[in-house]
């Protein structure tokens, strides 16, 4: 079952597409939302929002990888939901990630014009592509998917403290890369 066929169903405004993507990727999105938000209820609501967003965005979008597209929507919606709560209702792995990401912030005066999310994402893209694959996936598993250091360590068969040190170096590396690119957050 190909993503392109699912996308065609969306383009045909066939509502069975929703059941289809829910069956195929719903669990994946739910797991990500649940991990990041720390709440079953919020995760369920988030997945419903993802389906709605899919319906509204395809067409005109025609994503090549529906999986990546749905994951991105899921993550963005979870961050929005978490962010929109303005400190209230915050839970899940996102809460643990933000203090760690402080180490990635470039040291620029806050008065400067803030870079856009796309500009920042492109800079991070370039930095990630400069890394060895293991480091790249390590960073993304922790800061995109919200996997815990312990989980990653178990899956890779390496000590958690070693990964924690590596993540620390990666955060520093990202900070320097963002500073070099003139990114202001």
């Amino acid at each position: 079952m190909e993503d392109t066929e699912l996308v065609e169903l969306f383009w045909a405004r066939d509502e069975s597409a929703l059941a289809g993507v829910s069956e195929k990727y719903g669990g994946l999105c739910r797991e990500l939302a649940r991990r990041l938000l720390g709440s079953d209820r919020d995760a369920e609501e988030c997945v419903s929002d993802v389906l709605l967003r899919l319906w509204e965005s395809i067409p005109p979008q025609r994503p090549l990888s529906l999986k990546a597209y749905m994951l991105k929507i899921t993550r963005n919606l979870t961050v929005d939901r978490w962010r929109g709560s303005t400190a209230a209702f915050r839970a899940g792995e996102l809460t643990a990630l933000t203090p760690e990401l402080e180490a990635c912030l470039p040291a620029f005066p806050s008065a400067e014009e803030v870079s856009g999310e796309r500009e920042t994402a492109e800079a991070v893209d370039r930095w990630l592509k400069s890394l060895p694959k293991d480091d790249r996936t390590l960073f993304l598993r922790r800061y995109w998917f919200g996997d815990t250091v312990k989980e990653i360590a178990q899956s890779r068969g390496v000590p958690a403290n070693r990964l924690a040190q590596k993540l620390n170096r990666l955060r520093g590396g990202l900070r320097r890369a963002l500073e070099k690119e003139g990114i202001v957050l």
Binding site: K67, N76, A87, A88, E151
Partner: protein, 510 residues
């Protein structure tokens, strides 16, 4: 935590998809890669293993085994995303040498365009008694469904035109579980058990019903928790007091319960907004919002319940915090009234189930409470939170009666009938069957519906003849089939000699 940090967190959401997929693949590697067949075989072995009552409770799972026909050739049925399962043949509780059967099935498309893809099935079996004595037998008519839809799907059984009184017999969940990555790009095929893996082809039911163990398990007594002590903690009247100048964006209670996971299983019954297990400290922590002006959608009375089964856990400790986020949470003067009571687990679960079973009120033909409750308990100890190894789906405790009610299963309607000596009677089942479908149209489907008919699966009857009649009512075009119907030539009744038949149709053009 600064806004800059949140901006970076949000910006990461715009990274290139290739990078996301690469990391997703790396994540998938952490899950064990077990071949589908092996997983199903292991499940079948587990189904056969009867393990005694230990720290927790284990019973046969009845999970299915074997592979599936994913693709399907032109003359074979195939798998479906939305699979409804085949129409199954009548069987008898006890095999009868002197009784033979002739079966005729009518596939009637009368209401097809007005009732979606629901097909009216009339499945008639004429039972002939060749002996010189009357035979009183227990007839079992099987159908596939979920408890919550039984009232709609329950067949009507008649004997020579007179409706029979029937009782419902339920098998366990007919499917399995799978990880979140199954079927995804670079994903693991079967690692994990967070999602349902429903049967998607007739072969799943063939393997399920083969050998009779599934039916035998359906007749086994349900778990009985009488005499098993459960520790119920009721949390009521949560409160908090702000110190001078203090604010609380989201006041929460952390309820920490020390326990040994090998001896105690801790469950919640809803209302928890977060939980964590600290195996280093041997404690489980539940997080609850304190209802109030800042508690958003949690407009309730604050009553929460935690249930522990097994050895009595340590005394729960309550702490209050001003927020959920660790970097913002400050100790808060807060508390709640906790009462602990030792209850009989059977009584507790029955009361819980009865409360939730109320949702079935008013449904004609609904399953009886004892059957649904029994399957709820069976689910608890087979896959649910009281299993030796609960499925990932239920790791955080999940005392949800509705979950068991939504599992697809094979059910039987049982009725006592008498076949006179040297004579025959005709038992007819009339039911509505929704078509299987594949909304992706990726396997040759044209967006219609498919119906399957099994001739011998799960039956101990000696069929001397089987036939099928198509009443198309001018509403359909045949897309794929192996019945042998030919609408152009007027061939609408065929003799059935194979094991499984399928008919895939779409609405007639114009």
């Amino acid at each position: 935590m600064s806004e800059k940090c949140v901006n970076l967190l949000a910006a990461l959401g715009g990274l290139e998809e290739e990078l996301i997929l690469e990391a997703a693949e790396d994540r998938a590697k952490k899950r064990r890669r077990w071949p589908r067949r092996l997983v199903k075989t292991l499940a079948a072995c587990a189904a056969l293993a009867v393990i005694g009552v230990g720290a927790f409770y284990f019973l046969p799972s009845g999970a299915h085994s074997g592979g599936t026909n994913v693709g399907g050739k032109g003359d074979e049925p195939r798998s479906f995303l939305l699979y409804e399962g085949p129409v199954l043949p009548l069987t008898l509780r006890d095999e009868q040498e002197d009784i033979s059967a002739e079966r005729s099935v009518t596939l009637d498309f009368t209401g097809w365009d007005t009732d979606g893809t629901e097909l009216l099935i009339r499945d008639s079996c004429t039972l002939k008694n060749a002996s010189g004595e009357d035979r009183t037998v227990r007839a079992l008519y099987p159908f596939i469904g979920r408890f919550y839809e039984v009232s709609d799907r329950r067949p009507t059984l008649t004997l020579d035109g007179v409706e029979l009184d029937t009782t419902l017999l339920a098998g366990y969940y007919a499917g399995g579980y799978e990880g979140p990555w199954k079927g995804s790009v670079g994903g693991d095929e079967n690692g994990g058990s967070v999602n349902m893996n429903y049967p998607d082809s007739w072969e799943d039911y063939r393997d399920l019903l083969a050998g009779g163990s599934y039916f035998a398990a359906a007749e086994s007594p349900y778990p009985d928790f009488t005499g098993v002590t459960a520790w119920v903690y009721d949390l009521t009247d949560p409160w908090y007091t702000l110190a001078e100048g203090q604010t609380a964006s989201r006041p929460v209670l952390h309820v920490t319960v020390p326990l040994d996971p090998a001896k105690t299983r801790l469950l919640h019954t809803g209302g928890v907004s977060g939980w964590s297990w600290d195996d280093g400290e041997g404690r489980m922590r539940f997080q609850y919002d304190i209802p109030g002006e800042t508690s958003g959608s949690y407009q309730d009375d604050g009553h929460r319940t935690i249930v522990a089964v097994g050895e009595e856990p340590g005394e729960p400790k309550i702490e209050g915090f001003t927020a959920v986020a660790e970097d913002q949470a400050r100790p808060l003067e807060a508390g709640a009234t906790i009462t602990k009571r030792a209850v009989d687990l059977e009584e507790y679960l029955r009361a819980l189930a009865l409360e939730q079973y109320g949702g079935y009120d008013g449904q004609e033909g609904r399953p009886d409470f004892e059957t649904v409750y029994g399957q709820f308990k069976l689910w608890l100890v087979t896959d649910g939170p009281l299993a030796r190894e609960p499925k990932e789906r239920y790791l955080d405790g999940y005392l949800n009666f509705g979950e068991a009610a939504s599992l697809v299963r094979v059910l039987w309607l049982e009725a006592e009938i008498t076949v006179p000596a040297g004579a025959s009677v005709t038992l007819t089942a009339e039911l509505h069957k929704t078509g299987s479908s594949d909304p992706f149209r990726s396997r040759g489907s044209v967006g219609g519906a498919e119906y399957e008919l099994a001739t011998r699966l799960g039956s101990n009857l000696a069929f001397t003849n089987q036939s099928a009649t198509l009443e198309d009512r001018g509403k359909i075009e045949i897309v794929r089939q192996n019945f042998g119907f030919d609408l152009k030539k007027g061939v609408k009744t065929v003799t059935l000699t194979g094991e499984i038949y399928f008919l895939e149709v779409k609405a007639k053009a114009g």
